[in-house]
C-alpha cells in the first residue's frame, strides 16, 4: 500500500480494533506484523470481555463502553468470532471474600454494571454442577466471551475489504521522525512514510517505544490455560473465584492463581488463570497445571473425570500501574501507543480503538484519556524487566 494515512504495528486484537476504528473514520490503514495474525498474546487468551473484574475507575468505564462496542462490531462486520453474552459468575467461600465481593458489587452497580446477588440455591439453579460448598456469588449478565484469534482475523478481513491492507512477516526496526513529528517507519524489508503510527504490539510495545526514544515499561506476566477434551455442557457461564479480582490487581512477581472456569462454543472447557512475572519463559510448568486443575475441581467437582487435552501459555502485557497505555507518545507527535492491557486486552480493544481514533481525528472522547496517557511514565522509575 502506497501512502497509508495510518500504520498499525501489531495484528493482535488491539491492533485490529484500532485499524477498524480508523478505517471506519475514513483513514486508509496499513497493518504490519512480524508474524501471522494474532500470533502474540491474542492467540493465547481465553477471549474475556469482562465488566465484573474491575473496581470503579477509568478502566471500568473503558470496559463498560468496550463491552457494548464488541456487539456493535459483531453487527458491523457480520460476526464470525463466536461472540457470546454468556454472563459471568463470581463466587467466594470465605467470610472476608464474601464481604469484599459484596462491597465491590455495590460499587460496580453504582457505576452502571448490572449485578445480581445469588445464594447457594440461586447459584446452582444457573450452574447445576457448582460445588455444594459455594453459598454466595454475584451474577454479571454483562460479561461476554469471544474467540480472540478469530476476532482479530475477522476484523482485519473487514479492514481489508474496506480498503486497508495487512502485511505480515516484516519487523519494524526504526521509527522515523523529523523535528519531533513522525514521518514513517522502517522495517527489515521496506520503508514506509506515514504521518500516524499506532504501536499495538502488546507485550513487546516497550521495544517499539524504545525505537522512538521513549520509555514504556510493559512487562510480560505469564499465564497458563488448560483446555479439556470436548465435554457435555457442564459450565454455563464464566465462573471464577473472587480471589481472581485481587490477583489481577496485584503487582507481585510471584505465582498467583485463582480458578476461572468456562465452557466454549466448541465444547471444550477452559481453565485459568495463573499470573507470574518470569520474563518470556516458555516451558510448560506442570506444578501450575496441577494447581489450576485443583482449583477448578474445587469449584466443579465433576471436572475431576474430564480429560486435559492441551495447555498453553501466553504473556500478558503488564503495565506497573495496571492501566492500559492509550495515547500519543511523549516525544514524537503522530506516534500513538495502544498496549499494556494485561489480561483484559480482548475486552478493552474496541474502546481502545475508539479512544485512539477520536484523539487522532480531533473528536470528543467518551472518557478523559489522561489516566491512560503514555506520558505518565516519562521520568518515572518504572523499569521494564
Amino acid at each position: 500500500m502506497k501512502n497509508p494515512d495510518a500504520i498499525v504495528i501489531g495484528a493482535g486484537v488491539v491492533g485490529a480494533c484500532c485499524a477498524l476504528s480508523l478505517t471506519n473514520a475514513g483513514l486508509k490503514v496499513l497493518i504490519i506484523d512480524r508474524g501471522p495474525v494474532a500470533s502474540g498474546t491474542t492467540g493465547a487468551g481465553e477471549g474475556n470481555i469482562l465488566v465484573s473484574d474491575k473496581g470503579p475507575g477509568a478502566e471500568l468505564t473503558l470496559a463498560i463502553r468496550s463491552r457494548d462496542l464488541w456487539f456493535d462490531i459483531n453487527t458491523d462486520i457480520g460476526g464470525g468470532f463466536e461472540l457470546e453474552a454468556k454472563g459471568g459468575v463470581v463466587v467466594s467461600r470465605s467470610a472476608k471474600g464474601i464481604s469484599d465481593l459484596k462491597k465491590l458489587s455495590v460499587l460496580q452497580k453504582e457505576n452502571g454494571v448490572e449485578v445480581i446477588e445469588l445464594d447457594g440455591a440461586g447459584l446452582r439453579k444457573i450452574e447445576p454442577y457448582l460445588s455444594e460448598s459455594v453459598e454466595y456469588g454475584v451474577l454479571y449478565p454483562g460479561d461476554a466471551q469471544c474467540q480472540p484469534m478469530l476476532a482479530a482475523a475477522q476484523i482485519i478481513r473487514a479492514v481489508k475489504k474496506r480498503g486497508g491492507s495487512f502485511i505480515q512477516g516484516e519487523n519494524v526496526i526504526a521509527i522515523n521522525s523529523n523535528a519531533g513529528s513522525l514521518i514513517g517507519i522502517t522495517t527489515d524489508k521496506n520503508n514506509y512514510s506515514c504521518p500516524i503510527v499506532i504501536n499495538a504490539t502488546g507485550t513487546w510495545a516497550g521495544e517499539i517505544a524504545k525505537l522512538a526514544g521513549s520509555h514504556l515499561p510493559i512487562m510480560p506476566r505469564r499465564g497458563f490455560i488448560l483446555v479439556t477434551a470436548p465435554a457435555p455442557k457442564i459450565v454455563h457461564h464464566k465462573v471464577y473465584d473472587a480471589d481472581y479480582v485481587a490477583n489481577v490487581a496485584s503487582s507481585d512477581a510471584d505465582l498467583q492463581s485463582s480458578a476461572v472456569v468456562e465452557g466454549t462454543a466448541s465444547g471444550t472447557i477452559l481453565i485459568g488463570a495463573s499470573r507470574e512475572r518470569v520474563g518470556f519463559k516458555a516451558d510448560l510448568d506442570i506444578s501450575i497445571l496441577r494447581q489450576l486443575a485443583r482449583q477448578a475441581i474445587s469449584l466443579f467437582p465433576v471436572l475431576s473425570s474430564i480429560g486435559l487435552l492441551r495447555a498453553y501459555r501466553g504473556f500478558r502485557p503488564y503495565a506497573p500501574d495496571h492501566l492500559p497505555v492509550i495515547g500519543e507518545d511523549a516525544n514524537i507527535s503522530g506516534l500513538w501507543h495502544a498496549a499494556g492491557h494485561e489480561g483484559a486486552g480482548i475486552g478493552l480493544s474496541p474502546a481502545t480503538g475508539e479512544l485512539i481514533t477520536a484523539q487522532i481525528t480531533n473528536q470528543s472522547t467518551f472518557i478523559d484519556p489522561t489516566p491512560f496517557s503514555p506520558k505518565r511514565f516519562q521520568g518515572s522509575e518504572y523499569v521494564a524487566v
Binding site: 478469530l150 478481513r157 497445571l289 486443575a293 475431576s304 473425570s305 486435559l308
Partner: protein, 461 residues
C-alpha cells in the same frame, strides 16, 4: 532402582528390553497396551495360539514376549500411559498414568520405542462409519477376533495391506478388492535389496498365498477416492479410481461394500521424544522421525530410540534397532557389552530394505485433487476443506499453525494424530509453497502426550 527404562512393548521395545537385561542391566518396560507385543504382535486376551495362522511370524513375537516375561531383571508395567515428560540435566522425567493414578519415573537411561500408527489421507466420505484404517481392522481381528465386515475393500499403499487382506480372508470376510495405488514396477530398481532380504519375499508369498485362497487379486494403480453411506448412515459403496503415477484420477467405478480398510503407510509417534526435547527430522517420506546416531542415541545423551520412531522400516529393522539400543543403554550404565559388527551389518541391510519400501510406495501429491470443498479434514472438530481455505484466503493465515488455530483443525480429541500431517500439505498447497521442516515438526508436537483426567492431574505433586 531401574537402570534402564524402556517405553513401548512392540518389536523394538521388547528386543531392547531383552538385550539390555541379558547384558545385566535391570529394566523397567512401560507399555501402553494391556498386553505386550505392540501393534505388530497384538494378541487377544487369552489363548493366542489360534492366532498363529493369521500372522506370518507371530511365533517370533511370542518367543520374544515369553523371554521378556521370563527374564527376572525385567519389570513390565502394562497399561501405562505417559501423559507428559521432560528432560533436565541428564534426567528424564516420565509422568505416567498407571491404574488410575499418576506415577513419576525419573531415569538417566531411557529407550524410546513408541512405534507408529496408520497414516490416513482424506477423500470425500472418508468420515463415514465403515471406512477404517488397515491397522484398525487388523487390531479388531488380532486383539478381539472380530471381523469388521462382510464385503471388504482393502486399499491404499504399502506392504501392510497384504497381511490385513490375508487376515480378513482367513477370518471369513469377502475381500472384494485389494488395491495398491502404486504400480508393481516401482520395485524394479530395488531387486538387489529384495534379494538380500529373502525373509521379506517369503513373508510376501505367505500372504499372497493366504489371499489367493479367498480368490482375491491385487490391482495396482487404483485407489478408493469416494465413499457413500446408505440410509443407516453406514458405508454402502465406494468409488474406485484408476489413477496415474501422480495419483490423479483417470477413471472411476463404484462398488458395494460394508467396510473399506484404507491406509497409506505409517506415521511415527514421536510425541514423547518431542516432549523430552530430542531432535526430530523430516525423513524421505516426509514423516517426522527421531534423529539417532549409530548407537541409536538421540540428540540427548542417555536417551536412545529404536523402531518405527526413527523411520518406518517394519518389525525386523525395529528388532535389530532395539537390540542395538539395548546394548547401548546397558553399556551406558556400565554393563560389559558392545555393539557387534554383525549388528551393524544386519541393521544396514534392513535399512536398505526400508529405503526401498519408501521408494516403492511413494504417496504422490495427486491425492489432493480427490477432495472437494465439503471433504472433512478434521473428524474430531468437523473442519472441512472449505473452512481451511477460508482461514487462508479470507482470514489471512500464512502457516499451518495459524490455520489450525483459526479453524480448530487438528485440535480435537486425537490431538491431530490423524489430520495433522496432511493438513500441513494442504495449507502449503493453498499458499503455493512447500511445507518447512519446522511446520512438519510443529504439527506433531504434543506437550500433553495423551489426555489426563483433571482429577489425576490435581492429585499429583
Amino acid at each position: 532402582m531401574h537402570n534402564v527404562v524402556i517405553v513401548g512393548g512392540g518389536p523394538a521395545g521388547l528386543s531392547a528390553a531383552l538385550t539390555a537385561a541379558v547384558a545385566g542391566a535391570p529394566v523397567l518396560l512401560l507399555d501402553s497396551n494391556p498386553r505386550l507385543g505392540g501393534q505388530y504382535w497384538r494378541t487377544p486376551a487369552d489363548n493366542f495360539g489360534d492366532q498363529n495362522e493369521n500372522h506370518f511370524d507371530l511365533a517370533t513375537g511370542l518367543k520374544l514376549i515369553n523371554s521378556v516375561k521370563a527374564q527376572s531383571n525385567i519389570q513390565v508395567l502394562s497399561g501405562a500411559q505417559i501423559w507428559s515428560a521432560s528432560h533436565k540435566d541428564g534426567v528424564s522425567t516420565l509422568r505416567v498414568i498407571y491404574q488410575g493414578s499418576e506415577k513419576i519415573i525419573n531415569t538417566g537411561n531411557l529407550i524410546l520405542a513408541t512405534g507408529a500408527y496408520d497414516r490416513s489421507l482424506p477423500f470425500p466420505g472418508w468420515d463415514i462409519p465403515g471406512v477404517m484404517t488397515p491397522g484398525g481392522v487388523q487390531s479388531l481381528i488380532k486383539g478381539h477376533g472380530v471381523v469388521a465386515g462382510k464385503r471388504v475393500v482393502v486399499a491404499g499403499s504399502g506392504p501392510f495391506l497384504l497381511p490385513v487382506a490375508a487376515g480378513l480372508v482367513k477370518s471369513g470376510a469377502d475381500v472384494v478388492e485389494l488395491l495398491e495405488a502404486n504400480k508393481s514396477w516401482r520395485w524394479a530398481s530395488s531387486i538387489l535389496v529384495l534379494l538380500e532380504n529373502l525373509s521379506k519375499i517369503k513373508e510376501g508369498f505367505y500372504y499372497i498365498e493366504a489371499i489367493s485362497k479367498g480368490k482375491v487379486r491385487a490391482r495396482f494403480g487404483q485407489a478408493v477416492v469416494g465413499a457413500y453411506a446408505g440410509e443407516n448412515g453406514e458405508l454402502e459403496s465406494v468409488d474406485i479410481a484408476k489413477i496415474d503415477r501422480n495419483f490423479k484420477i483417470k477413471k472411476v467405478r463404484n462398488i458395494k461394500c460394508d467396510v473399506a480398510a484404507i491406509g497409506w503407510g505409517f506415521t511415527a509417534d514421536t510425541s514423547l521424544a518431542g516432549a523430552l526435547g530430542c531432535k526430530q527430522v523430516v525423513a524421505k517420506d516426509e514423516s517426522v522421525v527421531v534423529l539417532i546416531d549409530s548407537k541409536q542415541q538421540t540428540s540427548i545423551t542417555g536417551v536412545f530410540a529404536a523402531g518405527e520412531i526413527t523411520g518406518i522400516g517394519g518389525s525386523e529393522l525395529s528388532m535389530i534397532e532395539g537390540e542395538i539400543a539395548g546394548k547401548s543403554a546397558a553399556k551406558f550404565v556400565g554393563c560389559a557389552v558392545d555393539i557387534s559388527r554383525s549388528d551393524l551389518i544386519i541393521r544396514a541391510k534392513k535399512q536398505r530394505f526400508a529405503a526401498a519400501l519408501i521408494k516403492a510406495y511413494p504417496i504422490k501429491s495427486g491425492w489432493r485433487s480427490w477432495l472437494d470443498e465439503q471433504t472433512v479434514l478434521c473428524r474430531c472438530e468437523e473442519v472441512d476443506l472449505a473452512d481451511l481455505k477460508d482461514s487462508i484466503v479470507e482470514l489471512g493465515a500464512t502457516d499451518s499453525r495459524t490455520a489450525k488455530l483459526l479453524t480448530r483443525c487438528g485440535m480435537g480429541l486425537c490431538q491431530g494424530r490423524i489430520c495433522g500431517r496432511f493438513v500441513v500439505d494442504l495449507v502449503a498447497d493453498q499458499l503455493n509453497i512447500s511445507p518447512t521442516d519446522i511446520d512438519r515438526i510443529a504439527a506433531v508436537s504434543r506437550p500433553i502426550i495423551t489426555p489426563i483426567p483433571l482429577g489425576v492431574l490435581a492429585a499429583g505433586e
